[in-house]
Amino acid sequence: MCGIAGFASKTGAPARIGRTLLAMLSALECRGPDSAGVAIWSGRRAGDERGRWVARIKLGDGLSEAEASRRAQQVLGVAESLLPVRDVERTGDSVRLALDGEVDLDSFERAVEGVAPDVEVVSLGQSLEVAKQVGSPQKLDDSFDVRGMKGTHGLGHTRLSTESRIDLSHSQPFWAHGLADVASVHNGHITNYHRLRRIYEGQGVRFYTGNDSEVIGIYLRDRLGQGDSFEEALHRAQHDFDGSYCFLAATPDEFALVKDGFGFKPLIVAETSDWVAIATEEVALRAALGEGFETREPPARTVQIWPTMQAAHV
């Protein structure tokens, strides 16, 4: 099953993002009781506040409080050896680092993840932050104060695990590892995942999970690296992915939805002059945003992209 949600503001009010996504996820909880997560773009541009990065890091699975604390120190030590760390915030098995300076994403990931096999950089970007964990949307909010998160746009996900493990790494949203500020949420089953995975592993790409949804970010990183625009990459994905999917993907500047060619999975869109909101079920839109707007279901095979508020400030 799974439930996905997305929200992009057109007019500001950055405080709205966390609250709105949380309300949508709470309404979608029955579709995905295993895990919950959000990806929020703060609106910080690559140009302003040069060299401000945020890394969200999973310290490990099932760590005791003492182990988590120790791991956090180790991770902090590694990070500090690479660039200045401005702020540290630990929440259970996760830590959030605010960093200053230029970051080589692959080197940073390799170094931090070298601390232990179950350490993972969950997101790394100048605008994007991913907060996710096993449990309900309410628990996610209790852990990470989702309702306090601010930004220009965001994605959310509630997970019903179908073919892979239930843990933090396997939950969504998925950051596109190695590609700053790009994340996706997916409902469905990409049936040529194993074939795509073999191809990418042959090129040396690391997969962190056995979850087919992870391949979306890996595919986008590959296509963008080959010179595709975000739009071209999404159209190509719609053509190349087999199976059932509605997925949402975003960069700092663009917010997009993609539907498979058979219309296997539901996705409802609502748009006003103030915002765009997308969710697997209309209940989520009504719970978060009330009445007073119409909704539509995009046809099968739709690829649709909206510019975000960050794009507007070019």
Partner: protein, 227 residues
């Protein structure tokens, strides 16, 4: 009478509707359905239930004789397997509108998404806007009227259902053929559309099964393509 649905569970809303009907109410309005699923299912009395807002999946499924009005959009499976009765959706409908319906009417003022009228067994499905991927897939009997454009793979693998399209037909499904509407078809279309205050976008086209897939034929091109 009115039912305020906001604080009620789906089960409580449906129980309230049933209780109202048992009390002899014939005009029931449900306020703030908030797009929840499975509302107004299996209503078999000749009452009118109006939902003031969008509904979720399977609204009006398994009904007979009842009349349902949805003043918003409907999610997947609106009116699925209904025996009779009438449903009117003011907005659009999700996948599988009227799936396996057996009788009565289902009117969607907006557009319908994929697989509208899938496996339909009777009755009339009327769509004011466009219809989605594989509309009429494996539909057996009954009539589908689309005032706007057909979607991809229209009328794929159909049986005796007839589809009338007022707009464009950009793509046909397996074994679907376009034919001329008869005089009585055109009369039916004209009176049905005016009864529901709808208009075709252009000239009516009729889409029916080519009947090549009803029985296996070894050399048939249709079979080679379909398989």
């Amino acid at each position: 009478m009115e039912i305020e649905a906001r604080e009620l569970s789906v089960r409580e809303v449906n129980q309230a509707i049933q209780a109202a009907i048992a009390h002899g109410e014939s005009e029931i309005t449900v306020r703030e359905p908030a797009a929840r699923h499975n509302l107004g299912v299996a209503l078999i009395e000749p009452v009118h239930v109006r939902f003031d807002g969008s509904v979720g999946y399977y609204c009006g499924g398994l009904i007979d004789r009842a009349r349902i009005t949805i003043r918003g959009s409907a999610g997947w499976g609106v009116g699925e397997s209904k025996l009779g009765g009438d449903i009117l959706v003011h907005g659009g409908a999700g996948n599988g509108a009227g799936a396996a319906m057996r009788g009565g009417t289902l009117v969607i003022k907006g557009s319908a998404s994929a697989r509208a009228g899938v496996s339909m067994k009777g009755g009339t499905l009327i769509i004011g806007g466009d219809c989605g991927y594989m509309t009429g897939f494996m539909a057996q009997k009954g009539t589908i009227i689309v005032c706007g454009d057909g979607g991809e793979a229209l009328a794929d693998s159909m049986y005796e259902t007839e589809i009338f399209v007022g707009g464009d037909i950009p793509d046909l499904g397996n074994d679907a053929v376009v034919s001329e509407p008869s005089e009585s078809d055109l009369l039916m279309l004209s009176s049905t559309c005016s009864a529901h205050e709808m208009e075709p976008r252009g000239e009516w086209k009729k889409v029916v099964s080519g009947r090549e897939l009803w029985n296996f034929k070894k050399g048939s091109l249709a079979w080679r393509e379909a398989l």
